[in-house]
């Protein structure tokens, strides 16, 4: 795929950064407003997907990219599991325990481990969606060739 027209490319360049930032906002404010890791992660992934669609798959070497997203995804999930499992060692020894100090309601840094979960879930979701997208693109290229 060679990418789309110049207008699309330029607009995408401008927009994707904004979309990315918006995604990050949704993720980090997950414990305060609607949204959270999943929604934000999807938006972040959307930013990347937009770029790839606009500039074409040849811009990036796809195969390595795919495996790296896969690793990122696994890493994020690993951290989530470790965060959850750490609850077994702190406080009341239960799975998914909220062992960090909870802070004040409404503050950005509050609600214990939940923002952390949000961040890593967002990472995982964005990486996963990207993996799926790239996977399908690669298959399509393989089939076409």
């Amino acid at each position: 795929m060679n990418g789309m027209s110049l207008i699309v490319k330029k607009v995408t360049q401008l927009m994707s950064g904004l979309i990315f930032m918006y995604g990050l906002y949704i993720i980090t404010h997950g414990h305060l407003t609607p949204g959270g890791g999943f929604a934000g992660g999807a938006i972040v992934a959307g930013a990347f997907i937009l770029l790839i669609l606009a500039f074409g798959s040849k811009v990036i070497s796809l195969r390595t990219e795919k495996s790296q997203t896969s690793i990122t995804e696994s890493l994020a999930l690993l951290i989530v599991i470790i965060l959850a499992g750490a609850g077994l060692f702190f406080g009341s020894y239960v799975f998914f325990n909220n062992y960090l100090p909870e802070g004040e309601v409404g503050e950005l840094i509050s609600a214990g481990v939940i923002p952390l979960y949000n961040i890593f879930v967002g990472m995982e979701v964005s990486a996963a969606l990207l993996t799926i997208f790239l996977g399908l693109v690669i298959y399509k290229e393989e089939v076409a060739s």
């Binding site: 996977g135 399908l136 298959y139 089939v143």
Partner: protein, 112 residues
């Protein structure tokens, strides 16, 4: 009530797609429609007339919230649905590569 009937019709549309289409991709689409009718139903059962979004804000007294649990369930189910659909599409593309067709009737090496 109307919404529930719509939900049921959506399910039937998806079922029709799965049962009658021959194209693998169309089957996947029909399947997704069925799935989403189910999500719709899930979202509907938590709905309360004139309910508010279940977010805690200052200065609210005895608010009527919609049930947040089905929403959480729908979100989880959508993620799962996403995974299933992605898998299905990936397999469908690979089938096309191997069999050279999207026709479900020709993809029947395993039988008996």
């Amino acid at each position: 009530m109307m919404v529930y009937i719509m939900c049921f019709i959506l399910f039937m549309v998806g079922l029709y797609g799965v049962l009658t289409r021959r194209n693998l991709i169309k089957i996947v689409i029909g399947f997704s429609i069925m799935e989403f009718s189910c999500f719709l139903f899930l979202a509907l059962i938590g709905y309360i007339e004139n309910g508010l979004a279940p977010i805690l804000k200052e200065g609210m007294k005895n608010p009527v919230y919609v049930d947040p649990l089905p929403q959480a369930m729908v979100l989880t189910a959508i993620v799962i649905g996403l995974a299933t659909t992605a898998m299905l599409l990936a397999i469908a593309i690979r089938i096309y590569k191997k069999y050279g067709t999207f026709d479900i009737r020709k993809v029947n090496e395993l039988k008996g």
